[in-house]
Symmetry: D2
Subunit: 221 residues, 4 copies
């Protein structure tokens, strides 16, 4: 059992409420209202900007050149992801201007700033634990949706999204994130500290579930 | 017109939606459901803990001894306020344990971490602009409620709360906060930067309105 | 063996070079040139300003109210110490203006900013390990000087300084700092991490020794 | 007059003591002892690691995607520079291990942590003002040495170093850094604040001069 599995087990209810949220189910089943998905897409773009900052923070907080470099690679790839996101938005009829000028929703502020504050006030382990529901969770969600609905995403309205996170590339990103959690935990996680980390993980999972809910509640841009 | 008035004017709609929120009106009129007030009280305690951290951040970011000292005084008084809060909660039947173990609501996370991130990523001016809707806004709300409902708060279910913020002590705190904004703006606010600061102020006001809404929506502890 | 003793043992040479520095010996023996002491006093005042910021940083980085409060108490007492320092300087003919306008020496910048960066980039444990040579070291130095030169400091040119750090008050501060290190280590120090912490401790000790050397090298204000 | 020129003018003495330091003169004249240069090279490598962190900090503190991206590009290029540095060191007989395990000198700690603290406690303008003596100063030094000693660096013992900083590539980096200072100043520099910024610039210049001095004083690895 790696640290990520231990965190999931310790936060089972919050984790399930997140990865099995109605938004996710309906996205998988293709019945998610388009307005919900569009709202999600726009907020997810704003989310990525803050995530880029979280990787920059990880780079700043690193001491060894290889850690600075590895966080910089993470930052570069989030920045690249924002460009992919702009293209995905375009296919849903959302212009760059639509997404850049949209106000951040409370749910977006809550999760992103929570992560950044975990990183600013805590150490790299806390930062990465707070990021894990997003970074590793999306890979689990993508894989689970493919398992439930079959590998053929042709004609699926949200097939591109599912394919992205179920794909080999993103699965590799998530696997690397799991290994990093283990490395960081080996360095500075005593058993006594696990409870605190599990509380951060549970809270981040709840804030992620709230993020899905924001999509469902919205009528979309 | 001091900076605070300029910020309010620039963010009129968001500001009005906050200070004239239904939660505030019903609190003033004495018709706010007790459950809403109790939920608010508990979250406000969790809010204060993060506010203490915001003043500690201001102290850390100061360069001159007098600024370190002044932020330290702010920190000390927020810490004192948390104790008053515990006593106020007790009068509403909420034990210290009830309030310390309550999970932070999304609205609490969103506003507090937004403020902390403004302070961590920006300068002292941004930190204090993000704090202003709370620190100065509560004084305006307290005074407005007394103006609307008369100075006698006897028998008013929320009279203690109103009296606290309408009182001379808190009005002085808010007046000092306004002067500090002016001092900080004189140092590092160009006219071009005002637009950015007004956007921070507007966003903080919206997050404060969401905080009231969280109280209204809740069934209370 | 508490963590502090383990750190000292792991960094024996750097520790000895610091606590047994020629500046310390001559201060104890009363033969330290007045100019060296005066230079030290002025820089130590500038040092305390940054130390106040380090405690403010500890307060900001704390999560639990009791930790925020405890760091705030540390901050308040450093701020008080700066006032004592102004009075001590006055007795050596140094006005408040002399000490406030003095440029920070390289040695002062190096140690203080190193500590602040340990705290900004690391966790509370790293911050307190970097502070330890100063906070706990001064208590050891004070006690050792009294042991070597006898308890009567009457007529000793630096008796007030020695008495301050050898005294019960400061010894209690240092004992509390040792306990805090143990608490923090119990939370987030794995054995693997000890090596890193010992390197921080050794470096901080070297920077403290450089601080004494700066005093010796100077001709004084 | 751009901001950089104003800063230089305000800090003329400290600036001259830095760019016209004996280390620089002797490097230009080819009479710098090899040991001094080797010591400098090793410490400059350790310096670059902290500079990478400073750019990561700038990226974290940015709000707009384009600013995050631009700081990320700066970070990437500092990381690349460290590799060039390893190769340069190799030509002077210094292995990667020699440079990675060398202890940081007080002068290295002082300047790098001062810059990082300016960035952590202040805003992006302060961070870039603190970086300017290094980033822009090296371009001025490189150009001045070529102007003094002629463009042919063939056979010059330190020709590679001079050519690097006098070259078009680095001159472009410095020109961009000057423009960024102007942009940041336009946003948040009032005239009243200029004095504070000039003090930061002067201090950073003194710490850079101390860094040269450290090279001269050393007997080299």
């Amino acid at each position: 059992m790696d640290i990520f599995d231990r965190l999931k087990t310790a936060a089972t209810d919050d984790w399930q409420a997140y990865v099995d949220h109605d938004f996710v189910r309906r996205l998988g089943g293709g019945t998610l209202p388009e307005a919900a998905f569009r709202t999600y897409l726009v907020q997810d773009y704003l989310f990525l900007i803050q995530f880029a900052r979280a990787y920059a923070l990880a780079s700043y907080k690193s001491r060894r050149l290889e850690d600075i470099r590895s966080a910089q690679a993470g930052l570069a790839s989030v920045l690249e992801e924002t460009e992919l996101h702009v293209r995905l938005c375009a296919r849903w009829g959302l212009s760059r201007d639509d997404i850049e000028t949209a106000p951040e929703h409370q749910a977006t502020v809550a999760y992103t700033r929570f992560v950044l504050d975990c990183g600013a006030a805590g150490d790299l382990l806390e930062l990465h634990v707070a990021l894990a529901p997003c970074v590793i969770g999306y890979a689990e969600i993508g894989r689970a949706l493919v398992a439930a609905h079959g590998p053929s995403l042709e004609g699926h309205p949200y097939g591109e999204w599912i394919g992205e996170y179920a794909g080999e590339g993103y699965q590799g990103v998530a696997a690397a994130a799991r290994r990093r959690l283990d490395d960081l935990a080996q360095r500075s996680m005593t058993e006594g500290r696990f409870t605190e980390l599990a509380a951060i993980f549970a809270k981040a999972s709840r804030l992620e579930a709230d993020f899905w809910q924001m999509g469902l509640d919205a009528r979309g841009p």
